[in-house]
C-alpha cells in the first residue's frame, strides 16, 4: 500500500466520513483516494474552493461532533492557519495531514521537514498547540491516522499528522486494522437544540478576565498532553555517548547509519520523536547520564534542533546536520555523525 493511501484508509477505519480539502502536490493523492472511498462508506468528500474554505468546512463539520479531516502541504497549511487557530480555541477535534514539501514560498515538491516550526510552534495566532504525530513507515501512516482521531476526541484538540511527500509515495506492506467505532460523547456539539439548551461554539471573549480564563483552560489541557502523551522510539541508546535525534522517514535512514556505526564500535544511539508536540524531551533526559553530545538530523536548515537544545539545556553540545529537497542517504548521515563524534572527541 502507498503511504498516502494508508493514511487515507486509516482515517476511514477510524470512523472519519468527511474530508474537505483543496488540491496541492504532494497531498492530492490523499484527497483522490478519499473522493473514491468515502462515498462507499456513506461519507462525503468535498473539494473546497480554497484552503481557507476547506479548514472552515472542517471547523463547521467538527462542531457537529463528526470525525472530519483535511489535508494539505506547506503553502496550503500556511493558508489554513487562521482556521486552525479557531479550531484549537473552540476545542474542536479534527485531524489535519501535512504531506510536506520544501519551502519557503512556493518552494518545491521535494522532501522536506521544514514545516516543523509551523506545526509545533503555533503557526496561527494565539496561545495554542496542536498534537503533532510523525509517522516513519507506511504502517504508521495508517496507525497514526487512527490514533490521531482518538487523541483529537480524547483531548478535544486538532491533531496534525506530519509526513514527508516521499513517505506518501512509498509502498510497504500494511496490516489493515479493524474498523473503529468512535465512543466519545460530545454534548457540546451543535446539532440543533431539540430537548436541550442551545449550544454555542465560539472563540470570541471580549471581557479580559473571560479571555484569560479561557487561555488557562487551554494551557491546562496542553500541560496534561505534555504529561501524558510524549512519545519517542529509542534505538541503541543504552550507554550511547552520542545521541542522534531524527524523526519521520529520515529516522529510518538515521537508524541504519547508527546501527552501522555501532557495529564499528562508536557508542551512538537514536532518539526518534513520535510526537513532535509534545516534544519528547523526557526521552532525551533519560539518555543524559551517558550522553556527552547530541545531534539533530533534519531535512531542513535546523528547526527541531531548537527543541533538542531546550531539552539538553546547555548540559551537552548539540550539533546539527540537515539538507533540503533530498532525504540524505545513509552514507551521508553516517559521515555526518562520524564527523560530529570526532569533533566532540568521541571517536
Amino acid at each position: 500500500m502507498k503511504g498516502n493511501e494508508a493514511l487515507a484508509e486509516g482515517a476511514v477505519i477510524a470512523g472519519c466520513r468527511y474530508f474537505f480539502g483543496y488540491p496541492i502536490t504532494p497531498q492530492s493523492e490523499v484527497a483522490e483516494y478519499l473522493a473514491r472511498r468515502l462515498p462507499q462508506v456513506g461519507g462525503v468528500f468535498l473539494q473546497a474552493e480554497s484552503e481557507l474554505a476547506a479548514i472552515n468546512m472542517v471547523y463547521g463539520g467538527a462542531a457537529t461532533g463528526a470525525r472530519v479531516m483535511t489535508g494539505s502541504s506547506g503553502p496550503g497549511l500556511s493558508l489554513k492557519q487562521e482556521g486552525i487557530s479557531f479550531i484549537a480555541e473552540a476545542e474542536l477535534p479534527c485531524v489535519i495531514a501535512n504531506i510536506s514539501r520544501g519551502g519557503p514560498g512556493l518552494g518545491g515538491i521535494q522532501p522536506a521537514q521544514s514545516d516543523y516550526m509551523q506545526a509545533c510552534k503555533g503557526g496561527g495566532h494565539g496561545d495554542y498547540h496542536l498534537v503533532v504525530l510523525a509517522p516513519s513507515s507506511v504502517q504508521e501512516m495508517m496507525d497514526f491516522a487512527i490514533e490521531a482521531f482518538d487523541l483529537a476526541d480524547r483531548y478535544r484538540t486538532p491533531v496534525l499528522i506530519m509526513s514527508e511527500g516521499m513517505l506518501g509515495q512509498m509502498m510497504e506492506p500494511v496490516e489493515v486494522r479493524d474498523f473503529v467505532t468512535p465512543a466519545y460523547e460530545k454534548p457540546w456539539a451543535v446539532t440543533g437544540c431539540a430537548g436541550r439548551k442551545p449550544n454555542i461554539v465560539n472563540t470570541l471573549h471580549l471581557p479580559p478576565d473571560e479571555l484569560e480564563a479561557r487561555n488557562h483552560v487551554l494551557a491546562a489541557k496542553y500541560a496534561r498532553l505534555q504529561a501524558e502523551q510524549k512519545r519517542a522510539e529509542l534505538f541503541m541508546t543504552e550507554e550511547a555517548e552520542l545521541i542522534v535525534v531524527a524523526y519521520g522517514l529520515l529516522s529510518r535512514v538515521a537508524k541504519k547509519a547508527v546501527a552501522d556505526l555501532r557495529a564499528q564500535g562508536l557508542r551512538v544511539g537514536l532518539v526518534r520523536p513520535i510526537t513532535l508536540w509534545p516534544f519528547p524531551d523526557t526521552f532525551l533526559e533519560a539518555c543524559m547520564p551517558a550522553a556527552r553530545a547530541f545531534m539533530s538530523i533534519e531535512i531542513s536548515m535546523g528547526q527541531m534542533v531548537e527543541d533538542v537544545r531546550l531539552a539538553v539545556n546547555g548540559r551537552a553540545p548539540v550539533d546539527f546536520f540537515g539538507r533540503i529537497g533530498v532525504v540524505p542517504s545513509p552514507r551521508e548521515v553516517r559521515d555526518a555523525i562520524e564527523d560530529v563524534a570526532k569533533r566532540r572527541g568521541l571517536a
Binding site: Y18, F20, V44, L46, A48, E49, S50, L52, A53, A54, N56, M57, V58, Y59, G60, G61, A62, A63, T64, A66, V68, E82, G83, F86, V190, T191, G192, C193, A194, G195, P198, N199, I200, V201, N202, T203, L204
Partner: protein, 247 residues
C-alpha cells in the same frame, strides 16, 4: 387581556448591544419570528459573522456557531453536508460577505449549498468604526474614503444579489429593506421563503437586506431610514433576482 405581541421563542431576550436605530435588531426579530412560525428552532444551526453581528449567538435561541471573518458559508457547508436534515443559516454583513468572504459566498452559491444566507447591507464596516465597505455608495464619506468613494480610486459598489443570481446553484436570491413597516413585512416574507427553499432542498438561498447604520452614517435613526430610501434603494433595487422552482 389578549396578548398581541410577545418575544419570539427563537430569541433569547438578551439585551441588544446594537446602537440606537441600528437595523440588526429588527432583522434578528424577523429571522426569529420566521423560525418560530416554521417551527424549526430546535433543528436550526446559525452561524455568526465577524462584524457587528458577531455576538448574534447571544440573541438567537438555537444552536449557534461563530465563524472567522468571511468564512461563514464554508462553516455552514461543513455542517450542512454532515447534518443534511437541519436548517443552517449564516448571518453576515457587507464586509464579511462581500469583501473578505467573497470567495466563500460565491462558491457556496455556485455549489447550490442548501443553506440560507441573511446578508445585511448597510454600506459600512460598523464594528470597526465606519470604514469603507464593498457596498459603500459612490460619493459616500467613510473613515477610509474621507473624500467620498470615487469610482476611479475605490471602484464601484458591489451588487451582491445581482452577482449571485447569475449562478446556477442559487435557488432564491432577493433584496429587501427594513426602512418602512411595509418593507419590513416584505423582508420577513422573503426570510421565511428563503428558509422554505432550503427545507425543500431546491438550492442556495440568500436574502440581501438593506439596513441602516445611523452611528457611522452620522445621522439620526429617522434620517437614516430616509437615507436608505433615497440613496441606497436607487442603486440597490429591491425585488427578486432569482427564483428557482422546486424540482
Amino acid at each position: 387581556m389578549k396578548k398581541v405581541l410577545a418575544m419570539p421563542q427563537s430569541l433569547t431576550g438578551a439585551r441588544w448591544h446594537y446602537c440606537p436605530g441600528c437595523g440588526h435588531g429588527i432583522i434578528h426579530r424577523l429571522v426569529a419570528e420566521s423560525m418560530d412560525e416554521l417551527g424549526i428552532r430546535e433543528r436550526t444551526i446559525g452561524i455568526c459573522p465577524v462584524g457587528c453581528a458577531v455576538l448574534a449567538y447571544d440573541y438567537f435561541n438555537c444552536d449557534m456557531l461563530e465563524a472567522a471573518h468571511g468564512r461563514a458559508p464554508a462553516v455552514a457547508t461543513g455542517i450542512k453536508r454532515i447534518l443534511g436534515d437541519r436548517v443552517v443559516f449564516t448571518y453576515q454583513g457587507d464586509g464579511d460577505l462581500a469583501s473578505i468572504g467573497m470567495g466563500e459566498i460565491v462558491h457556496a452559491a455556485s455549489r447550490g449549498e442548501k443553506i440560507t444566507v441573511f446578508f445585511v447591507n448597510n454600506t459600512v464596516y460598523g464594528m470597526t468604526g465606519g470604514q469603507m465597505a464593498p457596498t459603500t455608495l459612490l460619493g459616500q464619506v467613510t473613515t477610509t474614503s474621507p473624500f467620498g468613494r470615487d469610482k476611479d480610486r475605490e471602484g464601484y459598489p458591489m451588487k451582491v444579489a445581482e452577482l449571485l443570481s447569475t449562478l446556477e446553484g442559487a435557488a432564491y436570491v432577493t433584496r429587501v429593506a427594513i426602512n418602512t413597516p411595509a418593507n419590513a413585512a416584505r423582508a420577513k416574507k422573503a426570510i421565511k421563503r428563503a428558509f422554505e427553499v432550503q427545507m425543500a432542498g431546491t438550492g442556495f438561498s440568500l436574502v440581501e437586506i438593506l439596513s441602516t447604520c445611523p452611528t457611522n452614517w452620522g445621522l439620526g435613526p429617522v434620517e437614516a431610514m430616509k437615507w436608505l430610501e433615497e440613496k441606497m434603494i436607487p442603486y440597490y433595487p429591491l425585488g427578486d433576482y432569482k427564483v428557482k422552482e422546486a424540482q
